[in-house]
């Protein structure tokens, strides 16, 4: 393995650890705007990581996946979510069932679980640390799921789902060098349309609610 490749594999590791940090930060953050930004930031990290893997593993079609990530997850989905947030005037602090410090401890436990599971599932000969990336992916999925369950606001539930999707995407890229490009596009498109439709649903719920108190809890 040349020094050049070694540097890149280190970078990949760094990027994915940052991606994990981003989702943990989202657990700790209390406002929806910052969560949306963190989601965009994490997606950007994933795109960079994907591009690097494309280089290390010599899989040019991954560049397409990186491009889709930038277009859909860094720009379009955060835009849609911000629009929904502004239209519905959701400004209130996020409410959750478990408070933030305990949530963080729980999420660290989830990360440990993810690493423990990984050791049983993954054996690999890839040119970079696949097991590490897989563990991060699984951890992001679990934490995203936790956000969905823990947060009361509907918009944060969508964000939790998006974090789960990011985790799945990361696993796909790291373990199998992504799906074929056509399938990859289908997946991105579906996720994007799902976000749009969820936004529409939120508007509809908003419209059918008359009680202001109830609207506050959306």
């Amino acid at each position: 393995m040349s020094a050049d490749i070694l540097l890149e594999t280190r970078l990949i590791d760094l990027i994915y650890v940052l991606a994990l940090a981003a989702v943990l930060w989202a657990v700790a953050s209390s406002g929806i705007p910052s969560m949306i930004r963190l989601f965009g930031f994490q997606s950007f990290l994933l795109a960079c990581g994907t591009a690097l893997i494309a280089r290390v593993a010599n899989e040019p079609h991954l560049l397409g996946a990186a491009l889709f990530t930038i277009v859909f997850k860094v720009f379009l989905i955060p835009l849609v979510l911000t629009y929904v947030m502004n239209r519905l005037k959701i400004r209130k602090e996020i409410e959750d069932y478990i408070n933030i410090p305990s949530s963080l401890i729980l999420c660290s436990l989830l990360t440990i679980v993810a690493y423990a599971v990984t050791l049983r599932v993954i054996q690999t000969r890839a040119p970079f640390n696949v097991a590490g990336v897989f563990a991060v992916a699984l951890a992001i999925m679990l934490i995203g799921f936790f956000i969905m369950v823990n947060r009361k606001k509907t918009l944060t539930q969508i964000l939790g789902l998006m974090f789960v999707e990011n985790g799945v995407f990361l696993a796909a890229v790291a373990m199998t060098y992504g799906m074929p490009l056509l399938v990859e596009f289908g997946i991105f498109f579906d996720v994007f349309v799902a976000t749009l439709i969820m936004g529409i649903m939120l508007f509809k719920i908003w419209d059918t609610l008359s009680d202001m108190d109830y609207k506050e809890n959306l």
Binding site: V121, I197, M201
Partner: protein, 485 residues
Amino acid sequence: METLLIITGALALLSAALPWRRVINAVNLAGYLAYAAVTALLVRSHLAGTDGPATGLFHHDALTLLILIIISVVGFAGALYSAPFIAGEIERHRLSPFKYRKYFALYNLLFFAMTLLVLADNIGVMWVSIEATTLASALMVSFDNRHEAVEAAWRYLLICSIGIAFALFGTVLTYYASSHAGGPESGSLSWRTLLTSAATIDPASMKFAFLFLLLGYGTKAGLVPMARWKPRTYGEAPSPVSAVLAGGLVACSLYTLVRFAVLCGAVLGQATVGRYLVFFGLISVVFSVPLIIAENDVKRIFAYSSIEHVGIIVVGLGFGTFYGIYGALLHILNNAVMKTALFMSAGNLVSATGEKDVRRLSCMIRSTPLITIGFLAAVVAVTAMPPFSLFLSEFNILRGGLQSGGYLAVGVLLVAFLLVFIAFYVKFSQVAFGDECRADARPVARRQQLIPVVLLMPMLMLGFFIPDPLHRLLVEAAGLFGVKP
């Protein structure tokens, strides 16, 4: 095969573009007749062995054809029923007249996605199309924009999306498990290729993949840990939508489960996979029965019944013996047609009375005889009474269970059948023959009243004998699991 996709795709575009209701109806009915005809031709050439080897993205085997038959029946009946129903809703000012086209555009998009799902050989495309069915149907569930309906649609969308995200993870893991043997390049997403190379797939990661796939696609089918969305969704959706979801879409979700059960069974051994299937199926049955007994909203009762029947089918698949699997596959067909008829007749009842609570429905046989006869027949059929074909499929499943030695599971199923029968008898005999007659039924289109009755005819026929082509399809599909009569 691509013809089917072209038909549904063209129907979606035409429904969105054409301005006249009558023309939209005619085009849709003609389209679904053509769909059925193409399916029939496919079945004929398949059974004659003249359809040649599968190539490219699409394939069809006996299992695909079985589901295509279901889709064409449900699609045609649904289109026939939807037209007067939606027109009636518009007349009652529950929907704006502009939504007529939108409804049929979504309806056909849903069927396009379902067709793509069953024809696709690629497990990635399968995932994409099942997600597409969720998206199209969520918009249909919230179609009348009532608060309850929108909230139900939101739950449905959120829970199914999370389930489907797990299924995607399972798909990725499957891809990984298959590529593990010979380096990342050798991985495949083609179901056929995966099955033929099952021996080289890594079992450790495949087992992990199977759990995620079962959880993910099980959510969509309505297996218990993730079935909470079903009663609300079926309860609040417009009746034709509930019918199409409980009939067609459940069959499609079960189709994905069958595909992956075959694949994972080939890698992990049928017995391992079967244990999980029996377990999840049984808890679905066990959880749904008390809820059926406690529920009083007519459509929600049937939603719980749908959970129960999905459980029965999955248990049948899990038994792993010929009769179990044969019965389960037949039950997929029966359940699809039955649930369509059931929700349509429940919809008629609700349309005629504006009442969903079974305790407040009484003596319906007097005021709306045809609707009530259809409703009662559907209820009797769904409890698997002998002349109807559900009896035959459930009987086969139980026989398969005894064959495999799963006596406990068979016992649980029998008790569940009995309890559901009693619950249905108590609840619905009151609805039909109760004492307090009222005569204020609203008019319901004749066509709308007849469709459930007509749908029940073939079910009655299938209870007496199974036509040879269907029998051969079922045997061949069961052969995917490696079992023979």
